[in-house]
Amino acid sequence: MMLNNLILLTGRTINQGIALESGKTTKRNVRATAICAFDKDDFKKLKCFIGTPVKITTDYGEVIVYSTISEEGPHPGVIFIPLGPWANQVVNPNTYSCGTPTYKGMKAKVEVVKEGKVLDAVELIKRLKEV
């Protein structure tokens, strides 16, 4: 199942904060940060269980993360990935001459993936080194 025309936001969550201080290369960081939170009604349209890997695609890249229902809804049409290496695969790197990339507000599409897995932080970044 696929959803189009969503807006991707990134930002801090407390679990992501605890995980990054507890070890950025740990499984805990994957569980806290490699997730995409959906509005409850949007998630129903995906027709999958919580925790199913989904592929997020924007104009700037794609990444596979676990899906979940947002605790901070309702926010129809908006999806949220905590800041970290997974979110940064799909954010807009353009700074428009102010130095700061546009980490929020990208158009995104989401599809449930049957193949492919959520990579851990080091595996994910290693792909950038190999390019």
Partner: protein, 442 residues
């Protein structure tokens, strides 16, 4: 009396976020040199203290990459290799500095100057637009103590302190009793403006659910209403006109209001123009009542990095020394832009993790050149570094100065010894500076 091997240090400053909580108590087992208990800190601060204990992702010795493998080495060899890489580079980037103390930041400035390199801190990907806006229009601000004692209206615009600055609410802004706000939460009115019903919004009196990327329009509408202009549209930024009128009335009629803003303004498409107009709104509100504005700074000493860089060079971030004197131009000398254009040929990362925090395309170019990290823990950046220099963690294993988000300098405390005599960030940078000066014959 029973003998104990636990040493308790009180009134410790927490080296996690810009709130710099100063009431932490830390218990250290003197036999094992481990932190065994942390009191008063938030969950993230507590995790940071416990991260100083030995673990499989804490570095104890300097490491150098040889034939593709990271191998342990001694400090002299690691410093020698670091200075070789930096001297050879024509355009080295020195980035990070926000999670270390001010003395180390000062040494970083000296190193960038003798190398003729580029100096940048994490404000570059965080509150850099806020600094640009402050340079454009000034900033009516105050200290957190003033807000605690006086503010009866708190606006959190594009920030979520429950998750990012967990004790900000209980120490300065929401559920805290102040001299003129004796009834704490009941004496304060909380407004959250955010596209999501964040955990902070869930405890607010009003949540304005705004469309993503449309903060500028809403602030402009409020500014117009303050001046008595009638808005023709039925809604602005997804917020009905009646609700904006109600909001304007509330903020106009408070005794002392404050806007705390975060990445919701600086990371969305208008960047510094969002902050510009937020500051102008604050200034105009002072025609009606007393109002201030403060950025919610993330890293505990990113404010210090801006302050130290400014008093040394005149500029807060994105500084280029390649002509022998400092030049400033975010967009040209800012780390992400430099990396996107692949303009650097080596990098020294101090207390930061750009591989996790920069957009993917810029990280690709970071890895194309020699990479040195001063970092106590394994991170996606350090794993691919050529040299790893593990420091003592500032604020836990060594002292130093840090600036709170409202520019109040506080002295960080040492609560335990660093493992295996790891050097502090300051000592590491000092040794690199000395070695480079020796090699250059200065």
């Amino acid at each position: 009396m029973k003998k104990t091997n636990i040493k308790t240090t009180q009134d410790v400053i927490c080296p996690f976020c810009g709130t710099l909580c100063d009431d932490i108590e830390v218990d250290v087992d003197l036999f094992t040199n481990d932190i065994v208990e942390v009191r008063n800190a938030c969950q993230i601060g507590t995790a940071k203290y416990f991260s100083s204990n030995p673990s499989d992702h804490r570095y104890n010795k300097p490491m150098i990459r040889e034939n593709g493998e990271l191998k342990e080495t001694d400090w002299d060899t690691a410093i020698e290799k670091t200075s070789e890489i930096l001297i050879k580079a024509k355009r080295p980037l020195l980035y990070g500095f926000s999670s270390t103390e001010c003395e180390a930041q000062g040494k970083g400035v000296e190193l960038a100057e003798i190398l003729g390199g580029i100096l940048d801190n994490t404000a570059s990907v965080c509150h850099g637009p806020s600094l640009l806006a402050e340079q454009d229009v000034g900033v009516p601000t105050s200290t957190l103590g003033e807000y605690k004692n006086r503010a009866d209206l708190i606006i959190f615009w594009g920030c979520n302190p429950v998750d990012a600055h967990p004790r900000h609410l209980s120490r300065y802004s929401v559920v805290v009793r102040g001299y003129f706000r004796k009834d704490g939460r009941n004496d304060r009115f909380i407004i959250v403006i955010d596209p999501r019903n964040t955990h902070t919004a869930q405890i607010a009196d009003i949540h304005i659910q705004i469309n993503p990327n449309e903060d500028y329009e809403l602030m402009s509408a409020i500014r117009a209403m303050l001046r008595g202009v009638k808005i023709d549209d039925k809604e602005v930024s997804g917020v009905p006109k009646e609700k904006i009128e109600e909001l304007t009335k509330i903020i106009k009629n408070c005794n002392y209001g404050v806007i705390f803003f975060g990445m919701g303004l600086t990371h969305s498409s208008a960047h510094h123009r969002n902050v510009d107009t937020a500051i102008c709104l604050t200034r105009e509100l002072n025609d009606h009542t007393k109002f201030s504005i403060t950025p919610m700074r993330g890293h505990y000493n990113v404010t210090g990095a801006n302050v130290v860089f400014t008093w040394n060079t005149g500029y807060a971030y994105s500084i280029d020394f390649s002509r022998g004197y400092p030049r400033y131009n975010p967009g040209e000398f800012s780390s992400v832009d430099l990396l996107l254009r692949n303009e650097i040929d080596a990098s020294l990362i101090v207390a930061s993790d750009p591989a996790s925090n920069f957009p993917a395309n810029s990280v690709k170019n970071l890895f194309k050149h020699p990479l040195i990290v001063i970092e106590p823990h394994e991170t996606p950046t350090s794993v691919f570094a050529d040299v790893i220099l593990p420091p003592a963690i500032a604020g836990i294993e060594c002292e130093g100065t840090a600036y709170r988000m409202d520019h109040i300098p506080l002295r960080l405390r040492k609560v335990k010894e660093a493992p295996n005599g790891c050097l502090s960030d300051f000592e590491i940078l000092e040794r690199i500076v000395k070695k480079i000066k020796e090699k250059k014959g200065e």
